[in-house]
Structures are given as structure tokens and as C-alpha cells.
């Protein structure tokens, strides 16, 4: 199916403030690539009409330069200024016979580095987590770090968990199974909300360490999101995403009063994110 594209805000105007995530990300990425001196990169962006005019543009690039500097610091702490090793290709076979083939980039002496020039959400964590599992399953037992920015534009380096190769293969196998299930029927998995949910669970588990499996779980992340998309008629959260709206039409995605859906929501989120969420909570209180 092809869904209609959302119209952007008046594209006829020159940018007056690079507020949207994409422009910010492009600015920061461009500056990050130009270690230190970024005047060329900025000139290009300005010529592309991505920067506001005059002093407003200076301000925008100044803010982007700060973000890039904060991020670069994290990157340098990991790479020590070295260039990444060349990409290697890797093929692994899981116990159920699934063969996964791919290549690993961003390899440094200290391990794998993933960089996100913006705030981290579930999608980025999932990407990095899959890379980490894949690398470890293929015999590269090295740490994987995701460098990114906080919502206050500080740098952040999240070290993903480092399971044993056997554990990594088992986890990968579970994720592949989930992926296959999703190809056959709608999977109640929403990367951003599920990541939030998993982190909230990990936080609570940290406080009450004796929370056993099967104990009632807190769905407040999903409930809040559902309430928001109810109230805010034109919110752009994952529940109101047009594709999700079509697939799940008529179902209350918060899992309120729908025990089966609630179970699935929780299960999908914890299968994918429990391990990284625990690591996250340990590293950032």
C-alpha cells in the first residue's frame, strides 16, 4: 500500500529557524564530518538554503557546532583519533538454521562505534543492539558504543551490553523469530514507545529487585501515548502513524482492558529491549 505523504510546513519560505530534527541532524552530521573547521560545510549548507540568512544562520551553525563538538568529544574518547578499520563481511548461522550475512563498519580498537547526531530513541538503540549481537555472534566479542546527544545537547556514550556469543546467538534467534512473526501479522511493537516502556520496567526492577517474570507490568507509557493521541487530534506519535492507524484500527493500543494485546505489547518490548534497557538504566540513572 502507498500512504499519502504528510505535507510539510510552508516549503516556500526560506528557513527561519532550523528547528526540525532533520535539519538539525544534517547540520550536526555535516559539522561532525569536518573535524574542527567546518566553514566549507557551512557554506555548502547555506548555498543549499538549509540555513537561515545572516546572523540567524550564524546562530544556527554556532549551536550546531556546539552539538558537534559535544558529540565529537565522545567519539574521540572512544576512537582516540584513529580511523576506523575497514569493513569486514560476516556470515553466521543460528541454531534454527537461519543464515545471517552482513558487514561490520565503524570498527575501532576499543570496539564498535555507532554515532547518532541527535537524540537517541528506540530505533537507534535497536540498530546498535542488532549490530552488537551480530558482531558478537560472529566471534567479535568487543564492546559496542552508541554516541549521541542528550535533549540538552550534551554528548552521551551508551555502551550496549556485551553478552557471551552463545547468549548473543540466542537473542538474535528470538529477534529473528519476532521479525518473521511481524511479516505475517501485525506486531504490537513501537520502537520508541517500547524502548521507553522497557527502560521504565528496568528502572522499576532496579528499585524492587525481586520483580519476578509474569508479575503485573506497568503499561503507563502506552496509556499515556494513547491518551495523548486521543486528546491531541493531530499528534504525530507512533500510535497515530497512518500505517499503524490502519493496521490497528478499532483496537485501543494502550492495552487498557485488552489483556491479550497488553501481554503482546509487553512481550515484544521486553524481548527486544530488556537487555539494553538494563544497561541504560545502570549507566544513566
Amino acid at each position: 500500500m502507498r500512504l499519502p505523504r504528510q505535507l510539510e510546513d510552508d516549503p516556500d519560505l526560506e528557513p527561519l529557524a532550523p528547528k526540525d530534527g532533520l535539519t538539525r541532524w544534517r547540520l550536526t552530521t555535516a559539522l561532525l564530518a569536518h573535524d574542527g573547521d567546518a566553514s566549507d560545510a557551512l557554506a555548502t549548507l547555506r548555498a543549499h538554503g538549509e540555513l537561515p540568512p545572516g546572523a540567524l544562520g550564524e546562530q544556527a551553525s554556532h549551536a550546531a557546532a556546539n552539538r558537534a563538538a559535544a558529540l565529537r568529544e565522545r567519539v574521540l574518547a572512544f576512537t582516540a583519533g584513529a580511523a576506523p578499520a575497514s569493513e569486514t563481511s560476516l556470515t553466521i548461522e543460528l541454531d534454527d538454521g537461519t543464515r545471517l550475512a552482513g558487514s561490520l563498519a565503524g570498527r575501532y580498537a576499543a570496539g564498535l562505534l555507532r554515532v547518532r547526531a541527535g537524540i537517541v530513541d528506540g530505533r537507534h538503540v535497536l540498530e546498535a543492539w542488532l549490530d552488537a549481537l551480530f558482531a558478537i555472534s560472529g566471534g567479535n566479542s568487543v564492546p559496542t558504543v552508541l554516541a549521541a546527544l542528550t535533549d540538552k545537547d550534551d554528548g552521551l556514550a551508551f555502551e550496549l551490553p556485551q553478552p557471551s556469543p552463545r547468549e548473543a546467538r540466542e537473542t538474535l534467534q528470538e529477534l529473528v523469530a519476532l521479525y518473521r512473526a511481524g511479516l505475517r501479522a501485525p506486531l504490537p511493537f513501537f520502537p520508541r514507545l517500547s524502548w521507553k516502556h522497557a527502560r521504565q520496567g528496568a528502572k522499576q526492577a532496579q528499585k524492587t529487585s525481586n520483580l519476578r517474570d509474569g508479575q503485573a507490568f506497568d503499561l503507563s507509557v502506552f496509556i499515556k501515548a494513547a491518551e495523548q493521541s486521543d486528546n491531541d487530534y493531530n499528534d504525530v506519535d507512533e500510535f497515530s502513524d497512518p500505517a499503524a492507524a490502519i493496521v490497528w484500527r478499532g483496537r485501543d493500543l494502550s492495552g487498557r482492558g485488552d489483556a491479550v494485546l497488553a501481554q503482546y505489547l509487553h512481550l515484544a518490548a521486553s524481548t527486544v529491549f530488556d537487555d539494553p534497557a538494563r544497561a541504560w538504566v545502570e549507566q544513566f540513572k
Partner: protein, 1212 residues
């Protein structure tokens, strides 16, 4: 002097105030006062201004006034009309009393009064009943000569947001030239939209700003201070960059000694590292990242002192540097905040300057600008005084309703216009119901007006709405000291009128309390020490909604079983139905939430909200369908359309088309078929079919009625848009654009969500939407939730000081001002709460309990604070005490119960479901001979037909051209005769720059383009007739002849400046039933229209419309011009006269002169026919000699005026 007791007592002179508590029959009183003005003072509706706040209220008020006049007119034909009769109802009783009072005046009898009432009822269509804004705009245009809009009144623009945003964008752009401004803009607001939200707040209007002027010196000082702080910061940063590992180790040791608490120490260790990292990084010094900023702050002496576990502050150069750093950061924050305040004020000043200027450029005006411009015009010492004089003569009396929602500017205008020796101004309102502060309404303006009134205000205290049990409860709630958090507003006890006193909700035959209080249970959450905690807001909201639904289901189920009834004032009982119940909410979010909860319980609910239908899911759904129609061969889009809710196919059905080619063909055929339907019959026809098919499925879903209503509304909107669109592609884009702008659309009437059902449904409405309405049972579930106002930067605070509206920004917001502003906000909350409670006729439900932020609610003020020596504690016990105190004030009317908990049942079926809707029977009378007349219709003698196009150069010329074109010597030009050519020349004359044609014989080079466009717009010249060059030449000759014709008044049109002339002056005159014979007799007597005796109809009745080609002013006289492109055999006076006779042009210019006469009479101060009416010029523009002039006699025009006004009989 004692206060007048009712509308019969109120003296009808000077400034009078009527203060009407909710539901005390305010409109009834206004109708009585209106009737008194008509009967006692012999005023006509055209002389009385009736103004109110909203357009909806206008319609309601107008019909009530008309009914009252009709009633009076009917009563006055009865013998002894003032004598009360046994079967009189409330309206009749009061009307008879008004009649009696009027009859007691000298020189008045029932026949005179009957005439007054009947004439007034007939004249209601032209009565000035509207909003205050509308009145101001009407004054501006009617008194255009005095108010500066003489010849081109601007068009009223409802929504200024687009223009305002444009202006803010431009201000933002200007920031690109100045590094300081750019920094402040980006740091404080981030985007122009955020700045726009603050700068365009309607509350800015007319406020004085509590801030010193921005002088270049202060700006310079700020810059210098900032420069110094930055230099100091760089120095500090350099020294911190010099910290080596030993420094850090020492610092760690010191930290360990001073911060035994682990987390306090750890955060400072991290902070020190972050600051060092910042110092050696390439990041800019200012502003620092959040972590660095916070780290510096955590070492400030205050922060360290606040830590009880810290034995002593850390010592050493590193920590001194951190303290200095914190101070410098704080200084810079303060300086930036000060700069942002100045920027915001500059922006506001820019907006105030630019908005009127840009509106003028567009020929438009906003509501507020109309008020401002009028105020300015009236302030003008010379012209303003003349205007005031004229307006006072035109409207000697004004009744202003909902006056509590006025603002100071409107009050100043009313004062100027109506406060004088011979004027009457009645201000009707209720300060307790002033709830539009957020939109610029200012209850203080009301209070100021009240203070200026003559005599005591008349207070209406007898409720015509709520039964006695509800009134007792309302008195218990509001009749207490300082209940409205504003000393000038008090609640007088209300009592129910005898006819409605028995109104109540009966449960199992027993009268339910007027106010049912629900006590929230304790939240069950406790602190570590066991002390209780309040409910958090979202949990409280959930249990309140659930309780509300439970109670509604119980009530409706009981009603079905005969156990819940409403008793009316006369004791009559009827079962409670869903439509009697209303849930009042504060905002749209609460309304959606409530509606969802109700529909889950199977309760039909209808909401009356100000939200755009484009923000609904259905709007997005229709986009899926439209996208598919764009390219009916695109299978993927077609499948997406099938998945839309309106079509409602599930995945299995859609998937079939992926593997079955026959299914795919069917799918694509259907899509193509749809596209075809839209192309042929429009989207409405197509969608109606689809909606009808889907309706059974949709209506079975929760909220299905809402969905169907939305689809229907969207279908209509699409149809409207389709008329202006080029095909489906364009329509699709327009629809998508509307979706993207859904927020901005919420104000437009067409896109606002409609009520989804006419069937019996629980009403959900915001308090603002419910104002003026009433319901049997009112539930206020959200009254227990307070809301803390979010503070934005820079702080903007709206408040009053010495009765003047002010705004404080940034540092101007002192603690006193902030407290005062909070009080004013609270006062408005209390008023809103009052409006909510007083919607009740029979019973009201109000929950209360200990909920987070409940402190900011109106209920907290009333229950815990107002009228108490010391406020009651806000906790579980305090809340219970507050409820009990309230109950004791009116134990017979108020009851307390625990929050209904029980399982929320589902409502199965409601009585009245099968109720079939029928169209109402029309038994009015339509005047059959009411027509819109134009000159051309008159001369064609049609009394019916559709073509009454009054466009000059069209209608009349067509007849002319047919008659004249085959003249022998001009055959080669035949294509340049006729109505098209006439229209082209008229168009060129309308737009021509007159001065360029001064003394020229051929078209000036710069005007050739205009001529060409005018001709082409009419499809001229037609192929293979004359060349374009030749056509332009001929048209140019016509224009030149017209503009250079020497006029007998001593000028030529090319010498008349644009501001002294007006092209295409359109007029609409009311035609009272006029006998055609009388009209012609009159004209014959003055030597006009001799060849004609009638127009094919016996009577003229309705409206006369027309457009005058040009009116210009020369030497204080107003002259009329009509251009004629007729081809005549010759252009000597005799031939021109012949043409005039043949085409009845004399009738035309008599009508035009009459129109001009009426207009000037109304618009020009001191108008006199002999002094001000000039000549009529008919310019036959084909020839320079084609000038015919006339000046109809004053007697003729005045007699025609009287005839058309139905005053003819009196004169004849």
C-alpha cells in the same frame, strides 16, 4: 434613590446598567426595554443600536425583539389593550404593562402605539442588531466622510493570524542583520511561531506596558555589560583549561571531605569533569551546555549551604573558579533575559505598527482595528465632533448586551457616542459571567462603566431557569464574602420565579438535592512517614470520568424504568432523557476524553467544540481515497483506499488483489469508476453513496455518529472546494493542505466540528460554549482539577493597577504584580465555575477532593478560602470539612455522597431511540411579489426572471447595441459595438489612471496595456474582424473622449483626483410596496418618461439595485456620470435626447440620483440637495460632443424618495 426593580421602572435616559445574574431573564428584559423605546419614545428600529458579543447571540436576540414587537402590535388592536386578562402569560403581562405605561404619556393613544409597533416590526430587517465590532465597522462606513473611509470602505477580515505570522516572520528576518538580536531570538524562542504566540496574544491590546522605554543608551549599556561578562568568562575558561591531573585529584579529595553524601559528591565530581571538558573543548563559551551550566550552579554558596549533609564548603582555587563561573553564568542569563524582554516589546511595537498598515494596503480591516480606527476618527477635534453629532442624531439609543465581555476601547467609543444629554445607553451584563479575559475581554472596563452610570444598577435576581433547590445551592456557594475574588463583584441571593420554583430532578418520586457533592476518597498513596498524599491529576481525572459515566448510566437506566423524572415548574413530570444531561468541561481534550468514556459505556454523547474537522481521523481517511483517484491505475494507492475506514476492507480482502488478477482488475475498475463519478458529478455525490453504504457499519462502532457526521461535513467541504479546483489532483492538494493547516482552521465556521446527532444524546460542552444555554442536570466532573499556569520565558503577566489594564514583562513582573495577576486569573476561574454551575435547571453534580494542583481551582477558592478568616487546610480532612461546611449552608438543597464507584455498566437501549424525525410544517406567508429590481428589469418590464445583472455596460448596453449596431457608416466596426465592447470600455474607465489622459487624443503608451487587457477579457477583437491595434485605438478614443469631456460644472474627469471620485458605486434601495402608476404620474409631472406609462407590473416591492459608473466631487458638489458606448447616427443634442428617450435613460438617472441622494443624506454631515447634488452627465463616449447633462428637481427626487419609502401616501 432606590434601584429600579424591573425593566418598566428603569428610566430611559442617560447611562443605565442592568445587572442580570445567570438565568434571570436578561433577554426578556432587553425585549421589554426595546419595546419601551419604540412605544414611549417613538424610536424606530433603525434608530436603536442593539449590540451583543457573538453573531449567534445576535440572531437569537433579533428574533426575540421581533416577537415582542409583533405581540405588542397584536395586543394593541384589542379593545382596552392595557387591561390584564386571565389567560395572559409572562410576555403578554409585561407587554400590557408597557402599553399601559406608554398610554399614560401625553398625546398617545392605542392607534398611535399600534402604528409604532407595527412599523417597528416591519423595519426589523434594517434594525442595527449586531456585534459591537460590527457596529463600529458600520459606523465607519456609514459615516465615511467623517471617519476617513468615504469612498472605499475596507473589507472586514475575520482571521488575522496569517497576516500576523507574516509580520512576525519579517521581524525575525530583520534579526538576521544583527548578531545580538539573532542570538536572543534563537535562544529565547527558537522559531518565529513561538515568538508569534507571545506577541499576538489578544490581551496585549490597549495595555500599558510596565517597562521603561528602550533607549539606545540602555541597549548600549546592556551590550557593554554583556561584553564585560563574556570577557570575564573567557578568562575564567582559560584558567579552568589549565587544570591538570593534580588539580583534579586535589579537588576530588576536597569533595570527599565536604560531601559525605554519595550522590551529592558523585554529581559534583561529574560536574567538575564536565566543566573542565567544556574549558578545553572547541565549544563556544556561551551559552554552555546544560550539564556545564548546572555543574557551575551546584557549587554556588547557596546550593552548598542548602545541603544539610555538607559540613563545610569546599576550599581551593578550583572551587573558587566554580563559584565565579556560576556567578558569571547567572549574570549572562540575566542580561540575556533583559535583552529578550526588549526584543519582545520591539516585536509587539512592530506588530502594532505594521498590522494596520498592511491591512490598509490590502483594503481590509480587522475587528479590533475597526474599533481603533473609529476611536481615532472620533478623537479628531473637527471631523470627529461632526461625526459624533451625526451619529447621535442617527442613533439616539443603544442597548448593549453581554457588556461584561467588552474592552476599554469599545467602552470609550460607546461613551463618546451615547453619553450625552439626549442619549440613552443601557448596558446589560453580569460581571460574574465575564469569562473572555483570555481573548481580550476586560471585566474592569465593565466595572468602570458601571461606576459612570446614572442611578443604581437595576439588578435582576429572580431566576427564570433554576428551581428553588438549585437556587438555594447556588446562593450557598456564591453568596459569601469575596466569593468572586474581586471586591467589586458580589452575588446577590437569587430566588426562583414562582412559575419555575418547583423544577427538580425526581429520583423514585423524591426530589433530588439541587447540588450533589461527590467526595473523592483518599488517594491511598502515602509518604515514607505514613502521611497521606493527594491524588495525582491524571488518576483523579480517570476516576472522576468513570464516576461520571457510572452516574449517567444509572440515571438513564432509572429513567427508562420510570425512576428518574424531571419536574417542571407547574408540577408536570416527564422522564429524564439523555439530552437533559450535560457534562461541562474546560477544554477540548477533556471533552474527547469524556466522550470516549461515555461511548464505551454505550451512552450517546454529542459534543459542541471549537475544533476543526480537518484534524479528525476521517479527514486523513478521505485523503487515502482521494490519493487513489489521482491515478486510478496505481494498485498500491487503490489498496490503501480500500483499507480506509470508509471502505473498511480488512487485510485478507485486500491481500487477494495481490495474487488474483481478476480481483486486481475489479479493484482498479472500481477506483476508475470512482474517479469518473467525481469528475462528472462532484465529490459530494460520490461520497454520499459511500457514506450511505458504510453508515450501518460505522454507526455500530463506538463514536460512529461522530465519524459519519465528520464524513458528511468533509464531503460538503470537498464539494465546495471542487468548484474552485482544476480536477482531482488539485482537489487532493487542497484537501491535504487543509489537513496540514488543521490548527489554523479551527476558527473558521465551515470547518468547525458539527454536532454529530440530532437524536437524544448527553451534551458535552466547554463552559464557554455552554454560556447562555441551560440543561436539566449538569455534571462538572473536572471542577475538582486545578491547573497551574505554565511559566514561559520571558514572563508575560496581565494585570490591572488603578483600574488600568497593564502588562508586565520579564523583570517587570515583581512579586506583587505576579500575585495580583494570579488573583485575576483565579477570579476568572471562579466566574467560569459560576457560569458552569448556573447552567443548571434541576440538579448539579460537583466532585471535590484532595488532588494535586487543586489549589488553583475555583472550587478550592470557594470551599476553602472565600469568606473564611483562615483558609481550610487542603488535604483529605480539610476537603471533607469544606464539603460539610457547604452542606450546612443549605442542608435542604445540598447533599454529600461518596464518589460513585460501582462497575460502569453499559447502557443497552434508550427510550426515544425510534423517534422518527419529520420536517416541520411551514405555515408562514411569503410575499409573492417581492423582487429585486434593476433599471434594466424595469425597462424590460419583467416582474420575474433571473437576469438582473446590474453591471454597467452589460444589461443596458445589450439592448442598445442590438438596436444601434447596423448603422450604415460604421459597419466595419460592428464587432466593436455591442455589450462586450461596452463592458471593455467600462472596465478600462474603471481602472484607468485619469491624470495620464489629460489632454491626449490617443491612448497614452502606459495605458495601452490596460486597454488591451480590458478588450481581451471580453474576447475582443474577434478573429478576422479588426486588428487588435485598431480595437485599442477605438477603445482609447472612447476613454479619451470620456475623460476630456468639458463638463458644465467647470472641470474634466481627467482633472479629478482619485480620492475625490468613486467608480462602480453599488447601491441597494428598499422599495416599500409602490404603485407604478403613482411613480409615473410623478415623473410625468416633471417632464420625464413621457413615452411610457408603466413597467409591466402594477406594484414595485422589494429591492432596487444598481451600479453607478462614477460619482465625483467637485467644488463641494457630488456629480453623477454614466458612460454610454452606443453608436448613434449623430451626437448633437437632439440625437442624444432621442437616445435618452428611446432607452429610458432618464428613468435610469432619476433612480441613480435618488440613490446618491439617499447615500449623501446618511453619510454627509449637513447634507442639502440644493447645495450638494451636482449634475448628471451621460457621456456618449464615441464622440467628443456626446455630452448630455441634467439636474433633476429636488421636489421630484424627494417625492420619489417618499414614494419608495411608503411615505408617499402621507405626502400625496
Amino acid at each position: 434613590m432606590s434601584a429600579p426593580r424591573n425593566a418598566l421602572d428603569l428610566p430611559l435616559s442617560g447611562v443605565r446598567v442592568v445587572e442580570a445574574s445567570a438565568g434571570t431573564g436578561k433577554t426578556f428584559a432587553i425585549a421589554t426595554l426595546y419595546l419601551r423605546l419604540v412605544l414611549e419614545q417613538a424610536l424606530t428600529p433603525e434608530q436603536i443600536v442593539v449590540a451583543t458579543f457573538t453573531r449567534a447571540a445576535t440572531a437569537e436576540l433579533s428574533s426575540r425583539l421581533r416577537e415582542r414587537l409583533r405581540l405588542a402590535s397584536q395586543l394593541l388592536v384589542q379593545p382596552d389593550p392595557a387591561m390584564p386578562r386571565d389567560d395572559d402569560n409572562g410576555d403578554t403581562t409585561v407587554t400590557r404593562a408597557v402599553i399601559a405605561q406608554a398610554l399614560s404619556l401625553e398625546g398617545v393613544d392605542a392607534a398611535v402605539l399600534q402604528h409604532r409597533a407595527r412599523d417597528a416590526e416591519r423595519a426589523m430587517d434594517t434594525a442595527m442588531i449586531g456585534t459591537l465590532h460590527g457596529f463600529c465597522n458600520r459606523v465607519s462606513s456609514e459615516f465615511g466622510f467623517e471617519t476617513g473611509h468615504a469612498l472605499t470602505p475596507p473589507e472586514l477580515l475575520d482571521d488575522l493570524r496569517t497576516l500576523q505570522n507574516e509580520i512576525v516572520d519579517d521581524f525575525w528576518r530583520a534579526g538576521s542583520a544583527d548578531a545580538d538580536a539573532a542570538r536572543v531570538l534563537t535562544q529565547t524562542w527558537g522559531s518565529p511561531r513561538a515568538l508569534s504566540r507571545q506577541a499576538t496574544d489578544p490581551r496585549w491590546r490597549g495595555r500599558e506596558i510596565t517597562l521603561d522605554e528602550t533607549t539606545p543608551e540602555t541597549m548600549q549599556m546592556l551590550r557593554e555589560q554583556r561584553g564585560a561578562a563574556l570577557a570575564w568568562l573567557d578568562a575564567l575558561r582559560n584558567s579552568i583549561a589549565g587544570w591538570n591531573d593534580a588539580t583534579m585529584r586535589e579537588a576530588d579529595t576536597e569533595l570527599a571531605a565536604c560531601f559525605p553524601n554519595k550522590s551529592a559528591r558523585a554529581s559534583r565530581v561529574r560536574g567538575l569533569r564536565a566543566v573542565r571538558g567544556w574549558a578545553i573543548s572547541s565549544m563556544a563559551s556561551w551559552p554552555p551546555s546544560g550539564v556545564v551550566d548546572k555543574a557551575a550552579e551546584s557549587f554556588s554558596p547557596d546550593a552548598v549551604r542548602a545541603l544539610s549533609t555538607c559540613p563545610r564548603p569546599p576550599q581551593g582555587p578550583a572551587f573558587q573558579a566554580m563559584i565565579d563561573l556560576g556567578k558569571t553564568f547567572a549574570d549572562l542569563h540575566t542580561l540575556d533575559a533583559a535583552a529578550s524582554v526588549h526584543v519582545l516589546r520591539d516585536e509587539r511595537a512592530f506588530l502594532e505598527r505594521e498590522l494596520p498598515a498592511r491591512l490598509r494596503g490590502l483594503g481590509k480591516i480587522g475587528h479590533d482595528q475597526a474599533v481603533d480606527e473609529l476611536a481615532r476618527a472620533l478623537d479628531d477635534t473637527k471631523r470627529g465632533a461632526r461625526a459624533i453629532d451625526a451619529i447621535r442624531k442617527r442613533w439616539p439609543a443603544a442597548l448593549v448586551d453581554e457588556f461584561q465581555d467588552t474592552d476599554p476601547a469599545q467602552w470609550r467609543i460607546l461613551q463618546k457616542l451615547f453619553v450625552h444629554d439626549a442619549g440613552t445607553l443601557v448596558l446589560v451584563g453580569d460581571p460574574k459571567q465575564a469569562i473572555y479575559g483570555f481573548r481580550g475581554g476586560d471585566v474592569h472596563a465593565y466595572l468602570a462603566a458601571r461606576a459612570c452610570a446614572d442611578g443604581e444598577p437595576m439588578r435582576l435576581e429572580i431566576s427564570q431557569r433554576a428551581g428553588a433547590v438549585v437556587d438555594d445551592a447556588i446562593n450557598a456557594l456564591f453568596s459569601r464574602e469575596n466569593a468572586f475574588a474581586e471586591s467589586a463583584i458580589a452575588h446577590p441571593d437569587v430566588r426562583a420565579a414562582p412559575r419555575i420554583a418547583r423544577r427538580a430532578l425526581l429520583l423514585d418520586g423524591r426530589s433530588a438535592p439541587g447540588l450533589q457533592l461527590w467526595r473523592l476518597p483518599p488517594s491511598g498513596k502515602t509518604k515514607k512517614d505514613g502521611a497521606g498524599l493527594p491524588w495525582n491529576k491524571s488518576d483523579a481525572q480517570r476516576i472522576l470520568e468513570k464516576a461520571c459515566v457510572t452516574r449517567i448510566v444509572e440515571l438513564l437506566a432509572a429513567a427508562h424504568a420510570g425512576g428518574a423524572q424531571l419536574r417542571d415548574g407547574d408540577g408536570a413530570l416527564r422522564p429524564l432523557v439523555a439530552g437533559d444531561l450535560a457534562v461541562l468541561v474546560n477544554d477540548n481534550a477533556q471533552a474527547y476524553s469524556m466522550q470516549r468514556a461515555l461511548s464505551e459505556a454505550g451512552v450517546p454523547a454529542a459534543s459542541c467544540l471549537r475544533a476543526s474537522v480537518y484534524a479528525s481521523e476521517e479527514a486523513g481517511d478521505l485523503l487515502l481515497l482521494l490519493e487513489a483517484l489521482r491515478d486510478p491505475t496505481d494498485a498500491r494507492r487503490a489498496r490503501a483506499a480500500q483499507a480506509s475506514l470508509l471502505i473498511g476492507k480488512d487485510a485478507r480482502q485486500i491481500a487477494i488483489s495481490l495474487c488474483d488478477t481478476a480481483a486486481l482488475d475489479t479493484l482498479l475498475d472500481q477506483t476508475a469508476n470512482w474517479a469518473d463519478q467525481v469528475e462528472r458529478h462532484g465529490p459530494l455525490a460520490w461520497l454520499h453513496g459511500l457514506i450511505a453504504q458504510a453508515a450501518p457499519r460505522l454507526l455500530a462502532m463506538p463514536g460512529g455518529e461522530r465519524r459519519v457526521a465528520n464524513y458528511l461535513q468533509l464531503a460538503e467541504l470537498l464539494q465546495q472546494q471542487a468548484d474552485a479546483c482544476f480536477g482531482i489532483d488539485d482537489l487532493c492538494d487542497v484537501h491535504a493542505r487543509a489537513l496540514a493547516d488543521a490548527d489554523a482552521n479551527a476558527e473558521g465556521d465551515a470547518a468547525r466540528l458539527r454536532l454529530e446527532t440530532d437524536a437524544q444524546a448527553v451534551q458535552i460542552a466547554t463552559v464557554h460554549a455552554a454560556k447562555g444555554l441551560e440543561y436539566g442536570v449538569v455534571l462538572l466532573p473536572y471542577a475538582a482539577l486545578g491547573k497551574q499556569i505554565k511559566k514561559r520565558k520571558p514572563a508575560l503577566t496581565w494585570y490591572h493597577e488603578d483600574n488600568r489594564a497593564r502588562v508586565a514583562i520579564g523583570e517587570g513582573v515583581t512579586e506583587t504584580i505576579a500575585a495580583r495577576a494570579d488573583d485575576e486569573l483565579l477570579a476568572e476561574e471562579v466566574r467560569k465555575f459560576y457560569v458552569g454551575v448556573t447552567r443548571t435547571c434541576a440538579a448539579c453534580v460537583l466532585p471535590w477532593g484532595w488532588v494535586n494542583q487543586g489549589l488553583h481551582s475555583a472550587a478550592h477558592w470557594l470551599l476553602h478560602t472565600a469568606g473564611r478568616a483562615a483558609p481550610l487546610a487542603f488535604d483529605d480532612a480539610g476537603c471533607a470539612q469544606a464539603l460539610e461546611d457547604l452542606r450546612l449552608r443549605a442542608p435542604q438543597a445540598i447533599a454529600i455522597e461518596a464518589l460513585p464507584a460501582g462497575p460502569a455498566g453499559r447502557l443497552t437501549r434508550l427510550r426515544g431511540d425510534d423517534h422518527v424525525l419529520r420536517a416541520r410544517r411551514f405555515d408562514g406567508r411569503i410575499e409573492r411579489d417581492w423582487w429585486t429590481w434593476s433599471f434594466s428589469r424595469l425597462v424590460r418590464g419583467e416582474s420575474r426572471g433571473s437576469n438582473s445583472d446590474p453591471r454597467p455596460g452589460a444589461g443596458d448596453e445589450m439592448a442598445i447595441a442590438d438596436a444601434d449596431s447596423p448603422t450604415a457608416n460604421i459597419q466595419n466596426l460592428s464587432t466593436l459595438a455591442g455589450s462586450r465592447f461596452g463592458s471593455a470600455v467600462h472596465a478600462a474607465l474603471e481602472r484607468a489612471d485619469f491624470s495620464l489622459w489629460h489632454g491626449v487624443t490617443t491612448a497614452p503608451e502606459t495605458q495601452r496595456d490596460l486597454l488591451e487587457r480590458s478588450l481581451r477579457a471580453q474576447g475582443l477583437p474577434r478573429a478576422a474582424t479588426v486588428s487588435l491595434e485598431r480595437a485599442i485605438e477605438i477603445a482609447g478614443d472612447c476613454v479619451s473622449n470620456a475623460l476630456n469631456a468639458p463638463l458644465s460644472c467647470g472641470t474634466r474627469l481627467c482633472e479629478i483626483a482619485p480620492e475625490r471620485r468613486r467608480a462602480e458605486l453599488e447601491f441597494h434601495l428598499r422599495l416599500a410596496p409602490t404603485r407604478v402608476g403613482d411613480l409615473f404620474a410623478l415623473m410625468h409631472a416633471h417632464g420625464y418618461q413621457r413615452g411610457r406609462n408603466g413597467v409591466g407590473a402594477e406594484r414595485l416591492n422589494g429591492l432596487l439595485t444598481g451600479v453607478i459608473d462614477l460619482v465625483f466631487e467637485h467644488a463641494d458638489r457630488y456629480h453623477l456620470v454614466d458612460y454610454k458606448t452606443n453608436l448613434l447616427p449623430a451626437y448633437d443634442t437632439e440625437s442624444l435626447r432621442a437616445a435618452i428617450d428611446v432607452h429610458d435613460y432618464d428613468l435610469q438617472y432619476l433612480l441613480y440620483t435618488l440613490a446618491l441622494h439617499r447615500w449623501l443624506q446618511r453619510a454627509l454631515h449637513g447634507y442639502d440637495y440644493e447645495t450638494h447634488i451636482g449634475e448628471v452627465y451621460y457621456l456618449f463616449v464615441r464622440d467628443p460632443r456626446g455630452i448630455l447633462r441634467d439636474r433633476p428637481a429636488r421636489e421630484l427626487i424627494e417625492a420619489m424618495d417618499a414614494l419608495f419609502d411608503a411615505r408617499g401616501e402621507a405626502r400625496a
